[in-house]
């Protein structure tokens, strides 16, 4: 399952999408919007067709490199408030080692190569004048 969506991510359905009877391990990673000083939400911009293609390649890569059975990647686009998940990656494997490794690798690759950009879309009272900052943040 690969999806880029505006709505909240239903984590349970992403996890269910990778369950298999021959999978002894399911690992799920949630990337959430953190309440850095004054941040109320992040705004995600996505080059959707290229990101979908990159996600599909990551799923195939995870299967060939780590003996992963199934992998799902779901990412939000648009405004995501603090506390909500902007990305969910779930993967299943026969044993936990492969599932942990593949999930970690896939998330690193998402950050490295998938065309997604984020902006602090709103700031709180400590910085009342919103300043858009694109591609400059070093932290999630």
């Amino acid at each position: 399952m690969i999806a880029i969506q505006r709505s909240r991510i239903d984590v349970a359905s992403v996890v269910d999408g990778v369950r298999r009877d021959d999978a002894g391990a399911v690992v799920v990673f949630l990337g959430s919007v953190r309440a850095d000083a004054g941040v109320r939400a992040l705004e995600y911009e996505v080059y959707v067709p290229m990101a979908e293609k990159a996600f599909a390649a990551l799923v195939e890569g995870a299967k060939s490199k780590f003996e992963v059975l199934e992998m799902s990647i779901v990412h939000r686009v648009g405004r995501v408030p603090v506390g909500e998940d902007s990305v969910v990656i779930a993967c299943s494997a026969a044993h936990r080692g492969a599932a942990f490794a593949a999930c970690s690798w896939a998330m690193d690759e998402v950050k490295r190569i998938v065309p997604i950009w984020k902006t602090e879309s709103e700031r709180g009272p400590d910085r009342p004048w919103p300043r858009r900052r694109l591609g400059t943040r070093k932290k999630d």
Binding site: Y47, M50, P115, W117, K118, L134
Partner: protein
């Protein structure tokens, strides 16, 4: 024997058209996220980038870090473009700490 007197119209130098996609800061600089762009036949990606920098001088500050893609694949400036290609000019992706 009759000779054909009418020849096909000469092909101009601006013979192909690509679609340029701009994202994030670059989209804000250009004021558009998608632009049609005419180029001479056989033009390379580098020529398109140079033309964009000429049209939008504020992009020049980002010239060393921009990511380029043709038809959804990352591409080098040396790649030859073709009519109908979709070319994306993108800031570095957001990254983050592990």
């Amino acid at each position: 024997m009759r000779q054909r007197l009418i020849r096909p119209a000469a092909i101009g130098t601006e013979a192909m058209r690509v679609r340029v996609r701009l994202f994030a800061t670059y989209r804000e600089i250009a004021g558009e996220g998608a632009l049609p762009w005419n180029l001479p036949d056989g033009a390379r990606l580098r020529q398109l980038v140079d033309a964009l920098l000429g049209t939008y001088p504020r992009l020049a500050a980002h010239a060393d870090t921009m990511l380029l893609a043709v038809n959804l694949n990352y591409a080098s400036p040396d790649v030859v473009l073709h009519d109908g290609d979709e070319v994306a000019v993108m800031p570095p992706v957001s990254g983050g700490r592990t």
